[in-house]
């Protein structure tokens, strides 16, 4: 099963992490290291590593070790899935709450 939509949206609720995601999305399929990211974003390498770990936990970023360095790339599928989960559950509730209103009147 894929990641929880809650974890995905929680990971994206932080503006710095959104910045990291935006940067990775501009890189397309390219892989970057925390050091490269830190050089381009206004934050330390430690901060970048921490945010990448949180994004990785939510399934939004894949990490791969190449020798001594870890390279990261965006894996956006959980975002799409989280959005379609929201749409599906939202539609279910619209229908149920209409039925509840009819039931109560």
């Amino acid at each position: 099963m894929s990641e929880d939509p809650g974890a995905v949206f929680f990971a994206l609720s932080d503006p710095t992490r959104r910045e990291v995601v935006r940067y990775l999305s501009e890189e397309g399929a390219a892989e970057v290291t925390a050091t490269e990211l830190a050089a381009r974003l206004p934050m330390t390498r430690q901060a970048v590593t921490k945010h990448l770990a949180a994004l990785n936990e939510a399934g939004l970023v894949a990490a791969e070790r190449h020798g001594r360095e870890v390279r990261y790339r965006l894996t956006p599928k959980p975002m799409t899935e989280a959005v379609s989960w929201m749409a599906g559950v939202g539609a279910e509730w619209d229908e149920r709450l209409d039925a509840l209103r009819r039931h109560l009147t």
């Binding site: 099963m1 939509p5 929680f10 949180a54 989960w85 559950v89 939202g90 209103r101 109560l104």
Partner: protein, 142 residues
């Protein structure tokens, strides 16, 4: 959308909170509007079973019961096919909150699929990790 990426809906209902509570918690009433036939053991830790017309069933655990105010259910992370097979689903949580509005009431529902809104956890969603072992324990004995 909620901060946790969940669904929030609020409806004004022209009846008392007592009446709304009964519609949410009496199995025969719930079955009349939810879209599934419901069995419900209304107490914290109690099991609820939802049987859809297509034969699919899902179970939920009752987490919070505050009569006429608050009901929280957590879906177990699977559904059962009519042939008994199990398919994984998201173990989301539904929170119902009823507010008195004179002779009327307002019902808010929040369904969230991830980290517990009661334990937002840290950046990586530690609430999620705390939730799972407990749920697995319940599934094993359900």
């Amino acid at each position: 959308m909620t901060d946790e990426g969940g669904i929030r809906r609020a409806v004004e209902l022209s009846c008392s909170s007592r009446r709304v509570w009964s519609a949410l918690t009496e199995a025969h009433e719930l079955s009349a509007w939810f879209g599934a036939e419901v069995e419900l053991d209304l107490r914290p830790g109690g099991l609820a079973r939802f049987l859809w017309p297509d034969g699919t069933a899902r179970r939920a655990i009752v987490e919070v019961v505050v009569p006429q105010r608050h009901l929280v259910l957590r879906w177990l992370p699977f559904e059962e096919a009519p042939d008994g097979g199990r398919r994984q689903r998201r173990g989301s949580r539904i929170a119902f909150t009823i507010e008195d509005r004179g002779p009327a009431s307002r019902l808010t529902i929040i369904e969230e699929g991830g980290a517990s809104p009661l334990h937002p956890g840290d950046a990586a969603g530690s609430g999620r990790r705390e939730d799972r072992p407990a749920l697995h324990g319940i599934v094993a004995t359900a």
